[in-house]
Amino acid sequence: MNAWIEKQKYLIDFTLSSLARRKAKNLGLLLVYTLIVFLLASVMLFTHALRQAAAEVLVGAPEVILQRMVAGRHDLIPPGYLERIGRIRGVQHKEGRLWGYYYDPVVKANYTFMVPGNQDIAAGTLLVGAGMARARGLAVGNLISFRSYSGKLFSFTIARILPHDSELVSADLVLISEADFRSFFAIAPGYFTDIALSVANPLEVRNVAAKLSQQFPDSRPILREEILRTYESIFNWREGIVLALASLAILAFAIFAWEKASGLSADEKREIGILKAIGWETGDVLKMKFWEGALVSLAAFLIGYLAAYLHVFRFSSSLFAPVLKGWAVLYPRFELSPVIDGFQVATLFFFTVFPYAAATLVPIWRAAIADPDAVMRG
């Protein structure tokens, strides 16, 4: 065992010096390798962080939302619905919600107007998201006017700008008082956009939803876990698409690695010939080459991953955020919280190290089987 470890140490030692002796060639490989790792790791870290952020946002969301449907379209909840729900067992808290979209022609963007359930907002004032504040150049105390859908002009004072931490969802958010909301959108008292229900026991959620759809055949309950699931699969799908596109890059990289490994310079061939002549066995050369691949992979993986980490969490994924995020005109400018995930690292490993190893397998073997007496015949 000791001899085995010593031997691996010698092989690694020799490999390091042999890598150092061919700096130009190996740096080129390392660069391309690192770049591939960097790209894929950036995609993965980014989508994972987005997923995490979305999940965090939804933690506070109600377990069930009830929407009323008219002719297959989402409609307002009429008065009386809220009271009727009270009799369903397991519902801990229920509340009618008011929210809607408003298109602002000034910045050509959609805002989400919402009446918050848990805080009171003084009439005539607004709390706005940071994205919107940026777009319209707003500061606390400013006055802003919107023309309602009925054509009437409404003016509001900005009471506060929402904090940055949840900007992914609050970028386009406008919080407004109930009275203002009703008059702005012309919604009669008693009507709501939808109903939010909180259910304490997660096992009850499904029963509550079943009862709701029985009791209100014209409505549909939407479960939080379903939203989560949908988000999850959308993010997975986006990530998958990007990686499928990246597969061309991976293939190119594999071919590049194959070529690098098979296109040995005369010098390298001679070196392997010498090693074999002076007593190295084919297996020893294979092991040496294995260490070479392992060291290069490790270096590329670490550097690439680190760079991707910095790219995503320090520099806000400046390279491709528009591709992955953009579902709203007001780009959220948000800091993702850093997450490293073993599962993700394992997946990344399969997309980078595995193709590299597979591509270099045969070339390495070819190099290692050089005739030991070749240097004499040379």
Binding site: E232, N236, F349, F350, P355, A358, W365
Partner: protein, 333 residues
């Protein structure tokens, strides 16, 4: 199919492995047909060199299977949020009929590959490579297993469909799916616990016996296989109950998660190592009478048996520690 990175990675890996082994098959056949150790002809020299390629290839496949196995389980766990009622990996694997067969097939391939590598190792220690024909025949037999495992995995992934909200038809299609819980078919805890400790003791004992006397190699292999199955059954049946403290949670995979401080690795790594080593002892046993292997097989067998015995003891110790560290509440469902 669900289109996501880990699935693409797993499919890619099994595709590459099958492809490589398929490409290697003609080489193996060539070796089986033309091998002649006593010849110094150029063909023989070439065949000899190819054996290096094939050994390297198998090591590569073996290593890939190992990582793929982990990724497969991780992935199943992660995907549980996509399926109604699935709480963890067990639920995801039960989404269609191919989940568990795919997992089992991968484990089988893993142990077949490890046994092949043991035979290969023994063969390369003998001066006349006595097992060349046998081992390349075995390699050809390994191929259908690898293909089958890849196919099962493909069928499993193709059959996955996330329960996702589609804006047109609204919600509550998510009917309760009772089959997807982690309530795996588990045996009664107390008898299983007795069988668990008994089998592990016997397996470790057989390993020690082989180390001391080089006897009962078959028993080592048999008991190692049994110990593997029994350990998994034990995790399902009682270890999970103690650790999770939940009467219906029998998942053997959640132990790998950070919530349970990665205890699973301490259990499964020794278990896989012990089983591979124990099976290896049996795998080389048929060749113990080959003249050039007479001293090699017992020497390698002893080392493997020692590893197997030590690792099975470790498995038992880790399982006991996990139970003792829990609050010792056995919630029977």
């Amino acid at each position: 199919m669900i289109f996501q990175p880990a699935i693409i990675a797993l499919l890619l890996a099994s595709l590459v492995c099958v492809g490589l082994l398929l490409a290697a098959a003609p080489l193996a056949i060539d070796i089986i047909r033309h091998w002649d150790i006593h010849s110094g002809s150029e063909r023989q020299l070439l065949l000899e060199r190819r054996t290096y390629l094939l050994s390297t290839l198998l090591s590569f496949i073996f290593a890939t299977q190992l990582v793929a196995l982990l990724l497969f389980v991780f992935n199943a766990d992660r995907m549980s949020s996509l399926f109604v009622g699935a709480m963890c990996a067990v639920g995801t694997l039960k989404v269609n009929a191919f989940g568990f067969p795919a997992l089992i097939a991968q484990i089988v391939v893993f142990f077949l590959a490890s046994s092949w590598l043991v035979i290969n190792h023994v063969d390369t220690l003998a001066h006349d490579y006595p097992l060349v024909r046998v081992k390349y025949l075995l390699l050809l037999i390994l191929l259908p297993f690898l293909v089958a495992a890849a196919m099962l995995q493909l069928r499993y992934f193709l059959g996955l469909k996330a329960d996702v909200i589609t804006s047109c038809c609204g919600s509550l299609f998510s009917e309760e799916a009772p089959g997807l819980t982690a309530d795996a078919a588990a045996s009664p805890p107390l008898p299983t616990m007795i069988v668990f400790y008994l089998t592990l003791t016997l397996a470790a004992g057989a390993g020690v016996l082989y180390r001391l006397r080089q006897r009962a190699a078959w028993l080592v292999a048999l008991l190692s296989g049994a110990a593997f199955v029994v350990t998994i059954a034990g995790v399902l049946s009682f270890v999970s109950l103690y650790v999770y403290e939940h009467p219906h949670h029998h998942c053997p995979f959640c132990l790998l998660k950070p919530e349970y401080s990665y205890q699973g690795y301490w259990l499964y790594l020794p278990l896989f190592l012990a089983t591979a080593a124990g099976l290896g002892v049996g795998a080389v046993q048929p060749f113990a009478r080959v003249p050039s292997l007479e001293s090699v097989v017992p020497a390698v067998g002893r080392r493997l048996a020692t590893v197997a015995a030590a690792m099975f003891v470790l498995v038992a110790a880790v399982a006991s520690l996990m139970i003792l560290k829990s609050r010792l509440i056995l919630l029977e469902g």
